[in-house]
């Protein structure tokens, strides 16, 4: 479940079966759900990969499902499958953050390619997400004085200047700076700036 895979939500059994077969032919793992409710039940924070969601279903519609996922904070890319004539609706979903949409009948390999891209994006996102989490975790361990020093460092000021501005001794600045670099697991100020660019 937590391994990246395509989550296929469609109330038509034939479509589910056919798409699963197709994805399998391109070596993409997938799970199928007969309704939006089923998928939402199964969803958790760690669910990864992408969602292929049918717009028109009995029970909850694809769009409602998408809205619920957004409110839950899911970042999973969503590819909508729409019927003929649903295109304006699909475009609206794109604006609300959907990954893509396909009109049935679709060019299947294009769909698979987009699924792969979506999964890749999710994976990258997840990786970045992990880095940011780590930086934030390191930042949270800094004292207020260390954070003050960090701001000054990031502004490109020398130790002496910092000591003058904060009315502390050079030495004290150096100690704080060493602790800061240690806690942030960086060796240079440039490295620190790069890390923070990612995390904040």
């Amino acid at each position: 479940m937590n391994s990246p895979q395509a989550h296929l939500v469609d109330d038509d059994e034939a479509i589910r079966d056919a798409l699963a077969w197709l994805l399998k032919s391109r070596n993409i793992a997938c799970t199928t759900y007969a309704s939006a409710e089923h998928f939402l039940d199964a969803w958790c924070d760690t669910t990864s990969g992408c969602i292929v969601l049918d717009m028109r279903m009995s029970g909850m519609s694809g769009l409602d499902c998408f809205d619920i996922l957004v409110t839950r904070g899911s970042k999973l890319p969503v590819i909508f499958l729409t019927g003929h004539g649903d295109v304006p609706l699909a475009v609206a979903t794109l604006k609300r953050g959907a990954f893509d949409f396909f009109e049935k009948p679709f060019n299947d390999n294009d769909l698979v390619t987009r699924v792969e891209e979506a999964m890749a994006m999710d994976a990258e996102l997840r990786a970045t997400h992990a880095t940011v989490n780590a930086v934030n975790e390191r930042l949270s361990r800094l004292t207020s004085r260390e954070k003050q020093i960090m701001e000054q460092v990031l502004a490109g000021k020398f130790n002496k200047v910092i000591a003058d501005e904060l009315n502390i001794s050079m030495r004290t600045v150096e100690v704080h700076r060493a602790n800061l670099f240690d806690k942030m697991q960086v060796k240079t100020a440039v490295e620190l700036a790069n890390l923070l660019k990612l995390g904040r």
Binding site: A14, I15, A18, L22, H84
Partner: protein, 662 residues
């Protein structure tokens, strides 16, 4: 065109009035002539009577005078002889008795002397008016004076004795030696005079009276009573003295008869006049009746001419006796060509001759269907037309059955119109199906997209496997089989759409209602799913019904879709549409029950009216077509409120279908 006798031309009212006045004038003139004739007769008769009267009177007067003159002479002779003879007493006695015997009208002969003393008298010795002497000179004395003075015989005035009898006296002076020595007096009682001198036949005709100037009656004689008609009087000379002889004639019994005759004539004349009056009244009434008849005739003619229904009358033998203009227009023959014709009629179509003849015979036998029959007739130009004929008995004024009257309707156009209406109805139904399908197009496209998308996916998957060289037969086979299944699924959808819009003649074949409902649900399922409506069908085992499957499908689809539309605002959980069916011996009843908004009362009446709709994009033909379809199947379609609805409102549409064809 008419075969009825035409009425004679009406004489002008003035002419008629003249005709009516003439007999009246004649009667009046006749009456005048009669009356004048009677008057003339009467006048003649009166004149004759008067002439006879005068003649008789003159005769009577003459007779009286003759007698009196004779008596005068005898008395004068006696007086002369008494003057010359010595023995006057004996002579007087002798002659007087002799005289009295001969002249019975003389009641007494008296001889008086110069001193007016009675010397002798026969019979008796007293003068009748002696008693009156005390009142001055009596009539006798006055007469004596006059006679002696004049020395000639003289009559006295008439006088009454004791108020009873009237008398008159004749006095003759007696001379002796040139000296008057006395007088002879003959006393005539006037009644005796009349009794003796007027003969019986005279008195049976007349009344004889002696009167004076003062109309004092002295004596009268008559044998008859009655009304007097004529009167004649002449002076009685002698004796003069103002006495008058008055004769009155009486109306004879003959006269009464005559009057009766006149009365009868007058009466008869009145009778004639009265009867003429009656005749006049009768004629007036007759004129009025004729006017009414003429008006009625004109009215009837106008009615016949304005009729578009052909009328044809036949006698009991089947001979045409009357046709109206509409019938002539219909057949193209003139009335002259048709009236008098016997079967086969010129308007009978030769190819239907036997059939027409059979119907003709049936009509004559009184067995024609009372609700009319259809038959093909031929126009003069050999064109054919369908006619609807109603036959009725022709009854004359006396209540006798004299023939048959038929009203004939040309129903060719009506038939054509019916056919056109039927075609239009079919066209409308077809259009409605197309409209339904159009409204469902997006759902159907989605529906069709599902299997197509599945097929495409299987197909691409297979290709992917084969290109990568990893393809295993047992891996590919199930996918290919699934492709086939999905293709069939798509085909089924297309077939259903095609069936639904197929244009075909309505045909009533036995069909299973559950199959029809299944088909409908197949159509509607996707749409219902999209709208989160559950459709449940409770269909028991039902006998097949004779109906057009496509039409039923159309009705059901329409009712289901209406129900679904009605539930747009119903909470999702309550959106349920159920279809129920049950059957009894005669019919199947199907209900489509929704839990929607219900039907507003003001809408309910117009629900089945064509082009009435509550939907913004609706045409308003759905329910009206549904009803016409159900009625075509001789069923009924109506709506009821779904009072037991869990959502609080809803509608039940029900229709029935008979299990048997008529």
């Amino acid at each position: 065109m008419q075969t009825l006798p035409t009425l004679p031309a009406q004489p002008s009212p003035r002419h008629l009035q003249w005709l009516l006045t003439l007999p009246k004038l004649g009667v009046v003139l006749l009456m005048i002539a009669l009356v004048s004739l009677l008057w003339l007769l009467h006048k003649n008769e009166a004149e004759e009577q008067r002439a006879a009267l005068i003649k008789d009177v003159l005769w009577l007067e003459q007779n009286l005078r003759f007698h009196l003159s004779g008596n005068e002479e005898q008395l004068q002779q006696l007086a002369q002889e008494m003057g010359t003879t010595g023995d006057r007493a004996r002579l007087f006695r002798l002659r007087a008795s002799h005289l009295l015997k001969n002249a019975p009208e003389i009641s007494q002969l008296v001889w008086v002397d110069r001193r007016r003393q009675i010397v002798d008298a026969l019979p008796g010795e007293q003068l009748p008016d002696q008693d009156l002497e005390g009142f001055g000179p009596t009539a006798t004395s006055r007469a004596l004076d006059l006679s002696w003075r004049l020395d000639k015989p003289e009559y006295s005035e008439a006088f009454f004795v004791e108020g009873k009898r009237a008398y008159i006296e004749f006095l003759v002076p007696i001379h002796a030696e040139r000296k008057i020595i006395g007088a002879l007096i003959a006393v005539y009682p006037l009644d005796t005079l009349l009794n003796n001198q007027v003969p019986w036949w005279f008195t049976s005709k007349y009344k004889v009276e002696i009167v004076d100037d003062n109309n004092t009656l002295y004596a009268s004689k008559t044998n008859i009573d009655g009304d007097s008609s004529q009167l004649y009087q002449i002076p009685l000379e002698p004796p003069g003295q103002g006495l008058l002889l008055r004769i009155t004639s009486y109306t004879s019994p003959d006269n009464t008869l005559q009057r009766l005759l006149i009365a009868a004539i007058v009466l008869l004349a009145f009778g004639v006049f009265w009867s003429l009056w009656l005749v006049r009244d009768l004629m007036k009434k007759r004129t009025l009746a004729e006017d009414a008849l003429r008006a009625e005739h004109a009215f009837r003619a106008a009615m016949e001419d304005s009729l578009t229904v052909g009328m044809r009358a036949r006698d009991l033998n089947g001979k045409v006796i009357y046709v109206n203009p509409a019938f002539c227009r219909m057949t193209g023959f003139t009335a002259e060509e048709l009236v008098g014709q016997s079967p086969p009629m010129p308007y009978w179509a030769p190819e239907h001759l036997a059939e027409t003849h059979a119907m003709h015979d049936a009509v004559l036998a009184g067995e024609a269907p009372s609700d009319g029959f259809e038959i093909t007739f031929m126009r003069k130009d050999e064109g054919r037309f369908k006619a609807l004929v109603y036959e009725a008995k022709l009854i004359d004024g006396n209540g006798r059955h004299t023939g048959w009257m038929a009203s004939v309707l040309d129903i060719t156009e009506r038939k054509a119109a019916e056919e056109l209406a039927r075609q239009q109805q079919e066209q409308l139904q077809f259009t409605a199906r197309l409209v339904t399908l159009g409204e469902m197009a997006s759902t159907l496209a989605h529906e069709l997209n599902q299997p197509l998308a599945a097929i495409a996916s299987y197909n691409t998957g297979c290709l992917n496997l084969m290109r990568s060289g990893r393809a295993q037969q047992d891996e590919l086979l199930p996918a290919l089989e699934k492709i086939g299944v999905q293709a069939q699924r798509a085909g089924k959808i297309i077939r259903r759409v095609h069936d639904f819009v197929r244009r075909s003649e309505p045909k009533c074949a036995p069909c299973a209602l559950d199959d029809v409902i299944d088909d409908c649900l197949g159509f509607i399922e996707a749409d219902a799913r999209k709208r989160h409506i559950r459709i449940t069908a409770h269909i028991p085992e039902l006998p097949p019904i004779p109906a057009d499957r496509l039409m039923l499908e159309q009705v059901l689809l329409n009712l289901i879709r209406n129900g679904m539309d009605a539930m747009n605002d119903t909470p999702e959980a309550a959106r349920e549409l159920s279809i129920c069916a049950n059957a009894n011996d005669e019919e199947i009843r199907v209900s489509v029950i929704d839990r929607g908004c219900g039907i507003a009362p003001e809408v309910r009446d117009k629900l089945f009216t064509a082009f009435f709709t509550t939907k913004p994009e609706g045409m308003g033909v759905g329910l009206s077509i549904c009803r016409s379809i159900i009625e075509f199947h001789r069923g009924r379609l109506w709506a009821e409120e779904f009072s037991a609805s869990p959502s609080g409102s809803g509608t039940v549409f029900l229709f029935t279908l008979p299990l048997k064809t008529p």
